[in-house]
Every structure is written in C-alpha cells, then in structure tokens.
Amino acid sequence: MALLDIAGVSVRFGNVPALRGVSLSVDAGEAVAVLGANGAGKTTLLRAIMGRVPIDTGTLTLDGAAIGGMRTSGLVDRGLSLCPEGRQLFPAMSVEDNLLLGANRAAIRVARARLATIYERFPWLRERRRVLAGAFSGGEQQIVAIGRALMAAPRLLLLDEPSSGLSPVAIGRVRELLGQVRETGTAILLVEQNVQLAAVMTGRGYVLNRGTIAASGETAALVDSEALADAYLGGTA
C-alpha cells in the first residue's frame, strides 16, 4: 500500500481550473518528483495535499485513510510536512525559533530533542541558531526551511521548488542536504522545475502540464521525454 495516494484530484480557483484529475502515489521511504513549467499546478498540488486549498473532486489517502478536507494541523500530526516555495521563513525570528515552530505540534520536550538531533546532523544550523532568518541568503534560508520542515518529524516531506532562485553552488548544498534526508528513510515528494536536481534526487516522477499529469515513469527517462519538452518549451507541434 502506498504511503500517499492521490486519485483524480481537481482544484479550481473561482472558475479557473488549476488541477484536473491528478493521480499519483508515493510509497513509504520513496522519493518521487513532479516536474513541470510555471503555472502547471505543481504548487497547488502540494498545497492541496497539505489542506491549504480545498479540493474540488478526487480523493487523498495517507496510509489508506482518507485525509481530504482534514485540517493542516491534523495532517502534520499524521506525518506530512511541507517546505514551501520561496522558503517562507519568519524573517524577524531566530533560526532556532523558526526550527522550533516546525515542531509546534509536539510537546516542548520532544521539540527540544528533535532540535538536538537536527543540530547534530546539521552543525551549520547550530552555529547560526541565534541569527535572524531574514539575514540569510536564499540558499541558507532554504537549508533553514528544510530543517524547519524536518522538525515535524515527517514520514513524507513535501518540497516545493527547493532550487528556485538559487545559485548553482547553493543548489549543490541543498542537493547534499536532501541526500542526507533520504538516508533517514523519509519519503519525499519533490516538485521541481530544475530537472537535473530532480533526476539526481528521485527515482520516479510525473510531468504535470496545465493541471494534468502528462507523463510518468523513471525520472531520468522523463528528462529527455517529448512530454517534458512540450511542457517547458511548447514542443514542436
């Protein structure tokens, strides 16, 4: 049984359809990519999973239990965590406060323990725990944001464009960090425009084009596919 199963999900904003009948699944411990150009509906997909936008039709199941319509807090309790597009840190708060907010659903003792684990694994964060998050560069913010998402101790980490707006060096660091996350057995659903990163990070993937799944398969194969070319640059036809 898949960890997360999405079947026929549609989302509309007013009379603008954003997702039309999207189906995909992620197994426990697996890393899956969703590729696609701007405006394809990738962010909407993740926000729909996290309960931040209501779904029109379709079902969302986690471990076989329906989670559609559930509140975000309940989804976090069940092991989902989203690292949003554009990092969305709390700029006027310290790194440590940002991280602790990631564990806001847990008791403070548990949160402290997770913090210790995270610091152990990423000493870079410990060194900067008193620095205000707003003071960091984009790449550094992305690391804090991933750390914050991990503080929820998720079984499935949803990552929305972690490479967006970053320099190649920064992307390299993010890639390294995500590699470490993979080793812990946390499942990842990675939404990316940067197919190179996706190809390295994930084994399997989907191409989302204008709100629908245009193709699926091994990420490496998708990168060279016609479907992706069409989604990105309008193809030839």
């Binding site: 009379n15 603008v16 150009a37 701007n38 992307i171 425009q193 640059l233 193809g235």
Partner: protein, 231 residues
Amino acid sequence: MTVLLRVEGVSKVFGGLRAVDEMDLSVPAGTVFGVIGPNGSGKTTFLGLLSGTHKADGGRITLEGQRIDGLAAHLTVRAGIARTFQTTRLFAGWTLGANLAAAARPGSPPPDDVLALTGLTARTGQVCASLSNAEQRLAMIAVALATRPKLLLLDEPAVGMSPPEAASLSRTIARIRDELGLSVLIVEHNMHLMMNLADRIVAMNAGRKLAEGTPGEIRSNPDVIASYLGT
C-alpha cells in the same frame, strides 16, 4: 520597420532585489513580441514598468519617440499603452458593456467592433463575474482595446484556458495585430501558444535579457534551455 516601443537600460529594484536589470528592447510596429522566462525572472515587473504600474529606477522608455517612463498609469494609457493582468481584473459586478464604456475615450473604436474582434458580441449585456474564465480573459483584452492603444501588453492571457480556447485566443491576438495594426507584447507560459504566435521572443532570466530571436532560435538556444532545466 518602424520602432514603436524602445526600452533602454531599464531597471527596477525592490528592496535589495534587482527585479529588472538593465533591460533593452525594441518592439516594431505591428508585431507580436513574446517575453518568456522562468518564475521570478522579472517578466511581470517588466510589463509593469511599461504600463506605468511601477516606476523605473533607471533607463528610458519611449513610445513613438515620446518618453513615457515615470508617467502615472493613466497617462501611460493616454500615451497609447494598455494592459491586461495575470489574474482577471474587470469591474466584475458590471456588465461587459459598462466595462467597455468606462474605458472608452474620444476616438476609441466602437464597442461593437471590439466585441466582434474578441468574439464577445453576445456577452455585452452580461455581468462580467458570470462570464467563463476564457471569456473574462478575452473581456480584459476588449477593455484594453477600448482605451485605443498603440501597444497592447498581455500578461499570461491563456491562464486556465483549455487548448481549443487557447487556440482561439491565439487567433484573436493575431487579428489584433493584423487587422488593427497594433503591436502586442505578451508574457505567457503556454509555450505552445507562444511559439506559434510570436514574431519575436525575448527570454529573460534574473531580470536580464538572456536571448532574443525568432521562436525557433529561442527554442534551440542553449542558454534558454539551461535556464529552464537547471544546471
């Protein structure tokens, strides 16, 4: 070919971010000019600089030789630049006819012509909020045309459209160019539409012009591909 719009070294800084960085561009009269680029590459900001929504921090923008940078939006409209928006912006509670009337000024094309061109003749008495997404997007174009522009700026006109709707939109834009003789500057993610419609395309990345050329040239430009697919 006469140059309608000339953009020279235009920049816009938000906080510490250079959203548009030293852009140069010339749009000839009677052409459809495409602007593409990944998210956050500065396309919409650039459009905003042309339409008077934002004030440029440097550089010059001229329309038929007249400087228009620094003008308030309503004066930019009078100078001959009309725009549409990424999200639907209409006086939603009014009828389409009332929307057109609000935009009209002396010398504007008759509303019937504009409606016919956008295929909305039957919708004139309908309240805009009750139109379909595709119709609302066309209505935005109709309202922009009602201001009697020389240059039409379209910000993602095909958002949420089905393939047939997008194809119809594409034909409408082509007619605006061919029949009214306007220039159209278009930002669009629907590459299919863009590649088939645009006479020329400029690709942006990180606020800068990355490449300019015909659709075919752009599609095969390695820098453009790299900017989309990542390194």
